[in-house]
């Protein structure tokens, strides 16, 4: 049994169980914290750094998705500094890949694009890296366009943790990192892929999409995650 802690988020008194994260308690109380790699129903990896928050008495910024609440904690989810860092992180993603929203299947339904709007980003002041990346259209129903991938690893996690296939994984290092199917074989040839499409539905951008989708047509449905996690008792 976890104990209950009382704490402050943005000056508001809230309470949470000590096995809950700052993000969970904030959301229960209607306090928004931006996230990109996090999605309810999958494990948290703390990779995108969008949910970093300030905690009084701790010099480092802490990811809300993996930091558990504690008695007497004083959390700030919004500040000029946090907004600046969040904008930088989103700009970094736009500069890193080849995100041409106007011709993307997820235009209008993309979490990265939405994050740019939410943070008021109207241009990218970092140099575009314009990497040369490929597209894998070998699967009969889905396509993977690495140009639009932000390496959130939701596909890797959903495939491993929910579907149990572990078709997806990450290869390479640094900006050369890329998600791959099996041992970097064509998706269409994958003997492990069950074609369940969970990766497509959890992908926050247009990197994974259903074939035949035209610009702006690819909407993602990931409510199944909450449902499955609840059925498995993984959600608190």
């Amino acid at each position: 049994m976890s104990r209950v802690a009382t704490l402050k988020i943005n000056g508001q008194d809230v309470s949470g169980r000590e096995d809950e994260t700052i993000l969970e308690v904030a959301r229960e109380n209607g306090i928004p914290i931006p996230t990109l790699c996090q999605i309810e129903g999958l494990s948290n990896v703390g990779a995108c750094r969008m949910c970093l928050v300030e905690v009084a008495g701790i010099s480092k910024l802490l990811p809300a998705c993996t930091t558990r609440v504690a008695e007497g904690m004083d959390v700030r989810t919004e500040s000029e500094r946090l907004t600046h860092y969040r904008r930088m992180a989103v700009e970094m993603l736009f500069a890193e890949g080849n995100h041409i929203c106007s011709v993307c299947v997820s235009n209008g339904h993309c979490e990265l694009q939405g994050m740019a709007v939410a943070l008021g980003i109207d241009h990218i002041h970092l140099p575009y890296l314009a990497p040369r990346r490929g597209v894998d259209a070998s699967h009969e129903r889905f396509t993977f366009d690495a140009n639009r991938c932000i390496l959130c690893t939701r596909c890797v996690r959903v495939c491993d943790e929910i579907e149990g296939a572990h078709t997806w994984d990450v290869m390479g290092r640094g900006v050369g990192s890329v998600v791959i199917t099996d041992l970097n074989e064509r998706w269409g040839d994958s003997p492990t892929c069950t074609s369940c499409g969970k990766c497509v539905q959890t992908c926050p951008t247009g990197a994974l999409f259903i074939k035949g989708s035209a610009v702006g047509e690819m909407t993602k449905r990931n409510t199944f995650l909450t449902y499955i996690a609840q059925m498995r008792g993984n959600l608190k």
């Binding site: 990779a47 890193e96 002041h125 290092r173 900006v175 990192s177």
Partner: protein, 548 residues
């Protein structure tokens, strides 16, 4: 093996060694081996046999003497003559002079400051032991501390000794070793692990390699004591695969210790059991970060995860895990043998003991040194290191590798300890010390380290993955003289963001080389940007109009 058996074994071995009037010890560290020291052993052996003195003289492999730049090194005992720059052709003259005056031309002056100004705790055996012989180590008193602790002390006693010694983690951050140990000891769980972090990856750092190569038994004994103190039953030495000699010797050492029942079940007839093994890193720098290292041992992709939970609470396969650096473990035996007070008497108020440094770059005596904490950089560089070669001027010294910073001349008299180094924008790090003279361009240096961080970033978190690439591009642009002043602003903005938002130490420290060079050598950046000149003449300046 019980304490009496160990004692008589040591006696036996010492007597066997005492039979020889002369013992010729040849360094077989990586640097000396690269300079043909194996051939020298063969040649010496040949001459000894030829002269028919193999009853009186023995030739054996030994460890590093520190002065790698003067290798291969050959020592003669018990007269303590040290030869440098030996070739196989010198074998005859060395052997023939055993009974008379040493060979003048080859003699290395051991009264030089390089030797006398050092304080050796980790490197206490000064390369005298054969790293491949457990008997040599036992003869020198090895494993007696472990056996004594096992039979006479409690876990709490050991941790208290370490606490009183003030030992701080030698991996770079100086975190209290005793605190770490007691956290693991207190952590709930019946299965616990000890890990030795031998994934030394900083450019210019070779302390841990040398310690693992020369004193594998001492590292193991430190781990064994730690395992006893925290209640671990299994442990791993994680070594990068680029250190084949260290891997070979550690594996050999574990096998030999198992043979003597110093490892295994119910060691010394007690209830303590321990199994140790070696795991190889596949070349990822980030696997020196403890959570990435643990993931790598588990067989997963070596990328870090957010802490807490710390490994002390949830580490290898979710069990409480003690993870210390090679040099930290190597300090354990001397502390428990000589006493915590003795150790605490070395060093400064807040940084206790000694530190091993790998001196390299623009310095006369390239090699491995061990000095008391609190010694000044000037003493290290000018007295021990012999100063800057070729009559050039000192410019900066880089400590802490890609996570550290460049320290300029004005701080040369600063004491070397964790706090002082942090104050001037660098870190102690694991002990790499790269000296740079006026022919180095600081923009180029920053670019070098940033390229290292960029290619070694695991790619998991955005700031480190993209930020290092962005910073590298900007530094490259600056070094080519194609940058504008706005680029410098963006560079500083990136440094701040990557430092404060990255997931692990690699990203958080990646901007340090840039920040410290900007702090002390800003005018060099401006020279590249405004005047399109590289003052040191290192960078290739693009003279055409800013290309698009």
């Amino acid at each position: 093996m019980n304490p009496e058996e160990l004692h008589s074994l040591a006696e036996e071995r010492r007597e066997a060694l005492d039979q020889f009037q002369h013992r010729v010890v040849v360094c077989t560290g990586t640097a000396c081996q690269a300079a043909q020291s194996r051939k020298i052993i063969e040649a010496l052996d040949g001459i000894v046999k030829e002269r028919g003195i193999n009853g009186r003289c023995t030739v054996s492999a030994g460890g590093c003497r520190g002065l790698c730049s003067a290798g291969p090194m050959v020592a003669v005992e018990p007269t303590d003559v040290l030869y440098q720059g030996v070739t196989p052709d010198d074998a005859a003259s060395i052997i023939d002079s055993l009974e008379s005056e040493p060979v003048k031309a080859l003699t290395c002056d051991t009264s030089a400051p390089f030797f006398t100004r050092q304080k050796r705790v980790v490197l206490e055996y000064e390369g005298r032991l054969n790293p491949e012989s457990i008997d040599d180590y036992i003869a020198a008193g090895g494993f007696s501390t472990f056996v004594r602790i096992l039979t006479e002390m409690t876990s709490g006693d050991v941790i208290e000794q370490i606490r009183q010694s003030g030992l701080g983690g030698r991996g770079g951050a100086g975190y209290s070793t005793a605190l770490k140990w007691s956290t693991v000891a207190k952590a709930l769980g019946t299965t616990k692990y000890v890990i030795c972090n031998g994934d030394e990856g900083d450019p210019g750092a070779f302390m841990d390699r040398s310690v693992m190569e020369d004193y594998p038994f001492k590292v193991l004994e430190g781990m064994m004591i730690a395992a006893f103190a925290v209640g671990a039953q299994e442990g791993f030495v994680y070594v990068r695969a680029e250190y084949p000699l260290a891997v070979k010797r550690l594996k050999q050492a574990i096998r030999q210790a198992e043979k003597y029942s110093l490892l295994g079940n119910n060691i010394c007839g007690t209830s303590f059991s321990l199994k140790l093994d070696v795991r190889l890193g596949a070349g990822a720098f980030v696997c020196g970060e403890e959570t990435a290292l643990i993931a790598s041992i588990e067989g997963k992709r070596g990328s870090p995860r957010p802490r807490p939970p710390y490994p002390a609470e949830s580490g290898l396969w979710g069990c409480p895990t003690l993870i210390n650096n090679v040099e930290t473990y190597a300090n354990v035996v001397p502390i428990l043998r000589e006493g915590a007070e003795w150790f605490a008497g070395i060093g400064t108020e807040r940084s206790k003991g000694t530190k091993v440094f790998a001196l390299s770059g623009a310095i006369v005596n390239t090699g491995l040194i061990e000095v008391p904490m609190g010694i000044s950089l000037r003493e290290i560089i000018y007295d021990i290191g012999g100063g800057i070669p070729n009559g050039r001027r000192f410019k900066a010294v880089q400590t802490g590798g890609p996570s550290g910073g460049c320290i300029p001349e004005q701080y040369l008299d600063m004491p070397v300890d964790y706090q002082s180094l942090a104050q001037v924008g660098s870190i102690m790090g694991s002990g790499g010390m790269i000296v740079m003279d006026e022919s180095s361009c600081m923009v180029d240096v920053a670019k070098f380290f940033m390229e290292f961080c960029m290619t070694e970033s695991c790619g998991k978190c955005i700031p480190c993955r993209v930020g290092t690439a962005q910073m590298y591009r900007l530094l490259d642009k600056i070094s080519q003289g194609r940058a504008r002043l706005q680029d410098l602003e963006v560079l500083e903005e990136l440094c701040d963001m990557v430092k404060h938002t990255s997931l692990c130490g690699l990203g958080q420290a990646a901007p340090n080389p840039v920040l410290s060079t900007l702090r002390y050598f800003r005018e060099e950046y401006l020279a590249h940007i405004v005047d399109h000149v590289c003052p040191a003449g290192v960078c290739k300046i693009a003279h055409e109009e800013i290309a698009l």
